[in-house]
């Protein structure tokens, strides 16, 4: 799931400067689940924005709408009227949602209300961690289901660096060393010998280094 965090309210306020009305567009999928951009957060943000505007004698009229997903045009079409009902749209979707809304409404300013963080998992209420970078060439089969691309700070492919100490990463004592996790898990699975195999230098063109990516599936088109 995409994990995102709400932008600080002062940043949102300054991006809304000059607008008299805004639709706060929630998104009913990932950002709802990670509690940053669902309908509830949209209502909260809209209230706070109105209170702030009122407190300095200004006026901002807000409304809230929540498409099931901002990343599918059908859901945006469904909500077209509500989304288009104000001067600008403040999207609480991930970066994909904001951009798709901008495509849908070419003549409107669409502003981001969230910072999109990463693809991750929910470990507890209010606690998410990064697990995948979408590098386009998954090597989890070789590393016991622990991703060195994402979870090693240096994306090392063949074991830990010299900064691995007591199972922790040198960049942050709260971060586990991915290669320690990989080693422990392979040991548990009785597959340590597989770690002796050297992973070749990676072709990063499948990742962001190859420029913006797209997937075209002729079989389902």
């Amino acid at each position: 799931m995409i994990i995102a965090e709400q932008k600080s309210i002062d940043e949102i306020i300054s991006s809304l400067e000059g607008f008299k009305s805004a639709v706060v567009a929630a998104c009913g999928t990932c950002v709802t689940v990670c509690m940053s951009g669902g309908e509830k957060e949209a209502i909260r943000l809209a209230d706070a924005l109105e209170i702030e505007a009122k407190s300095r004698g200004g006026c901002l009229k807000t409304s809230v709408t929540c498409p099931t997903r901002q990343c599918d045009m059908e859901f945006l079409d469904e909500n077209e009227e509500a989304l288009g009902s104000a001067e600008c749209i403040l999207s609480l979707g991930c970066g994909a949602g904001v951009q798709f809304l901008a495509e849908k409404f070419p003549d409107k300013v669409v502003l981001p209300g969230l910072n999109t963080e990463f693809i991750g998992v929910n470990r507890d209420i209010g606690y998410w961690t990064e697990m995948c970078q979408g590098c386009g060439n998954c090597m989890l089969a070789k590393t016991g289901g622990v991703c060195p691309v994402t979870r090693c700070s240096k994306s090392n492919f063949n074991g830990p660096c010299g900064g691995s100490s007591s199972g922790k990463c040198e960049i942050d004592p709260d971060t586990d060393c991915a290669w320690q996790l990989i080693y422990d898990r392979m040991k548990r699975l009785g597959r340590l010998d597989e770690l002796l195999e050297i992973n070749e230098i990676r072709d990063w063109r499948t990742s962001r280094d190859g420029g913006p990516r797209s997937v075209v599936r002729e079989d389902v088109r």
Partner: protein, 466 residues
């Protein structure tokens, strides 16, 4: 009625006997690690084990036998879970080392281990000479390895012992400790020993509590303390908890009470009481409410891929509705919220917990004179019902908003009071960041038994211009 007894405890046989004598049947699963999953509500619980499924109307969890404390020679040790006592340890550091004792033969409970290490680390960081005695400490599995390393680096002396003898000198108010690791003997004199008092439950028990979705206290015990009038109650209806320290007559009475509640639970299910309803169209099936519900009353409807409320298990506190990120949960009784004290138009909106705030406010209101007219009160079933959005919506028309909730540890729904305070804090922080006066959202803790406890705080809010 079939009653399922979970746990291994000396009194299991006694419980079984009592239940059969009263005409009920009992099933016992003594190895609690056997439980794979647990679902349902009172009258129709289902426990899946590795070998099959057990159905039961009621469930009794028996606590594992508490480990006897090592002989303290007549002295009283402090508890590592007692924050004030641990703060007091500081006073002894000049005279003698502070001793922390974790006396477990095989595995030390994860909660005790973590807490003992934390306390040792704090003491050593403050340059108190600290000795940590243990027989077997579990660190890796409980994630305490790092704390252990930090404590060692901070100068805590760790002694793994095989034999321990403690005597207490009343005149000098000091303990004499003889401890041996089998090779070397060490003698220690101290005025302060802290233990977990045989506290802390095994990892297995913690796992069981999690599967049954019972709220546990810091030491991992299923927290029965707040239900002081009926100590066998847990947060989840139909699931009971018995610890073995009580007398036989207590057990008899308690079991009679337990089976008598079955009818009441069934009756309540048919009543139109305040409970949560989930809008399936909005539910993102994110499990937030499932995790947050203090009464284990939310259950997945796997067929429709939405969460559902088990009405008979629901206590109507509204914690789920407040936390639901999709705004999909409503409380059937939300309209009753605007009760008794309403009708005054004022400048301060107060959301009052019906168990504490409303009762306390009613008591102190007559003494507030003209200021009372400033208050507009809305009763809520629990502080946990109050979300950021209720408070921010109130601020659209009111100058200030206050959540008047229970004192710590007094919340009927475990942590509703804390949740209200967090919501108020977040709203304040957001308003401050936005450049709006942050002193507009408050959370005040009070008690129905001591209505004047929060009087001054309330006066301060009312007197401050808004």
């Amino acid at each position: 009625m079939n009653v399922l007894i979970l746990g291994q405890n000396g009194i299991n046989g006694e419980i079984e006997k009592c239940l059969t004598a009263q005409g009920h049947s009992a099933a016992v699963i003594s190895d609690i690690g056997e439980i794979k999953s647990f679902s349902g509500e009172a009258g129709e619980f289902k426990a899946k084990t590795g070998t099959g499924e057990v159905e039961a109307a009621l469930v009794i969890v028996t606590e594992p036998d508490r480990k006897p404390m090592p002989d303290m020679g007549g002295g009283m040790p402090a508890s590592i879970f007692d924050a004030a006592a641990m703060e007091g340890a500081w006073a002894f550091k000049a005279k003698s080392p502070v001793v922390i004792l974790l006396d477990y033969f095989n595995e030390s409970p994860p909660a005790s281990t973590a807490r003992a290490l934390e306390e040792a680390l704090v003491l050593a960081s403050k340059k108190a000479s600290t000795v940590f005695l243990f027989r077997f400490m579990r660190t890796a599995a409980s994630g305490s390895e790092e704390l252990y390393l930090k404590a060692r680096n901070a100068g805590v002396t760790f002694i793994k012992y095989e034999k321990l003898a403690i005597s207490y000198d009343e005149g000098a108010e000091s303990f004499d400790i003889e401890v041996s690791d089998g090779v070397q003997d060490v003698n220690l004199k101290t005025q302060f020993i802290a233990t977990d008092s045989g506290h802390g439950v095994s990892e297995k028990f913690s796992m069981l509590a999690k599967k049954l979705r019972l709220k546990a206290d810091e030491a991992g015990y299923v927290n029965e303390s707040r239900y002081f009038l009926a100590p066998a109650l847990t947060g989840r209806k139909g699931v009971y908890y018995i610890n073995p320290d009580n007398s036989e007559s207590w057990l008899q009475e308690t079991l009679e009470f337990i089976v008598s509640t079955a009818g009441a639970v069934a009756k309540e299910a048919g009543e139109d009481k305040n409970h949560a309803t989930v809008d399936g169209d909005k539910c993102a099936f994110c499990y937030t409410c499932y995790r947050a519900c203090p009464h284990g009353a939310m259950a997945p409807d796997d067929e429709n891929r939405v969460m559902q409320n088990m009405e008979s298990a629901c206590e109507g506190c509204g914690a789920c509705a407040a936390v639901c990120p999709g705004n999909a949960i409503a409380m059937s009784g939300d309209e009753f919220a605007a009760a008794s004290l309403q009708g005054k138009s004022g400048k301060v909106k107060m959301f009052c917990c019906e168990n504490s705030g409303e009762i306390a406010l009613r008591e102190i209101l007559p003494g507030l004179g003209e200021l009372a007219a400033k208050i507009d009160c809305e009763t809520v079933p629990c502080g946990g019902r109050i979300g950021f959005e209720q408070m921010s919506a109130a601020l659209r028309s009111y100058g200030k908003v206050v959540a008047l909730v229970c004192m710590d540890d007094a919340c009927r729904h475990f942590t509703g009071n804390k949740s209200a305070c967090k919501q108020a804090q977040r709203l304040s922080a957001m308003l401050e960041k936005a450049g709006v006066d942050k002193k507009r959202a408050y959370c005040i803790k009070t008690s129905h038994a001591m209505p004047n406890a929060a009087r001054d705080e309330i006066l301060e809010v009312l007197n401050d211009n808004c």
